[in-house]
Subunit: 149 residues, 2 copies
DNA sequence: CTCTTATTGTTTTTTTTGTAACAAATGTTA
DNA sequence: TAACATTTGTTACAAAAAAAACAATAAGAG
């Protein structure tokens, strides 16, 4: 190798390919919660998390969704404003409140969940079952490794 | 299935897993060009693209990197300011200029490229060769499918 | 040609986001 | 228990990004 310039073909570079796909996946799912329900990604994640936990503090939402506490704070504020969430006083620690879905929030959650699950299916429909499993397990494996460092 | 509420476990939901990993990958590569060279993601992509093409217009950079023309415009402005890029007049169309690396830009490019390639290797070191190929080919396959729609 | 439309890129404005300071409550230590 | 530190969440300000308006040029139609 006498070699010349170091070269990099961005299109062939895994982190770049991945970044592109990530945007596509994100946009594809957002079609549901953004266009149809006017939620941002963070709001959707908070809604999904509260729906999953029934009553949960802001701190735990942040831990669960991997969002910053301020992003969570703002998403909560917005969800309360549209009456999808309500605060309950948790007697134990007066700094924090437990959050729960209102009936409006419940309804949104129950409407959106099947739609995003369908959307996920549609998104992955071009892959075989085996490919889907591989992609998911490789995603989790790499993610776990990067989290360790 | 008499079934109750529709439920969604965010942690098990592929688009969520993927979004987390994407952030991790992005941050991991950014360690090189951000911390060591003070470039943003967009600036790095533009630099890499000009390095790859030698002389290229703003419009084509945008097409190539999948960035918005305004993001490209600003990244170019910043790269010119730090003397990594220069404009050449392209006689054909006086609206647009061809962009090329200066010797400083050349040097940055040639320093960064091997470093990010190393970083990519390090990032993927925990996967087998087969797994890396699978991940890359599945990424490309899904990406191509989503681009069609 | 000349008038309209489209392209290319920049600038301006608005909105969103992130960083850091803050308040309120709790926990800890001397 | 008084003083200090930590946790939890919000607010204020600064940085960044997106949206929209703009200028300059080019292309196309009549």
């Amino acid at each position: 190798m006498t070699s010349g310039q170091p070269q990099l073909d961005l299109q062939q570079f895994f982190p770049y390919q991945f970044s592109i796909l990530s945007g596509q996946v994100s946009d594809y799912i957002a079609l549901i919660y953004k266009q149809q329900y006017g939620l941002t990604k963070f709001e959707w994640r908070v809604l999904a998390t509260v729906g999953q936990h029934l009553a949960i503090s802001s701190k735990n939402i942040a831990a669960f969704t991997q969002l910053d506490k301020m992003q969570v704070s703002r998403a909560i504020a917005r969800l309360i404003k549209i009456a999808a969430l309500e605060q309950q006083n948790s007697s134990e620690d007066r700094r924090s409140h437990l959050l729960a879905l209102t009936s409006i929030g419940q309804q949104m959650y129950q409407e959106i969940v099947p739609l995003v699950i369908e959307q996920e299916k549609r998104m992955l429909a071009g892959l075989t079952q085996q490919e889907r499993q591989l992609l998911s397990s490789l995603t989790l494996k790499l993610s776990a490794q990067l989290a360790d460092q």
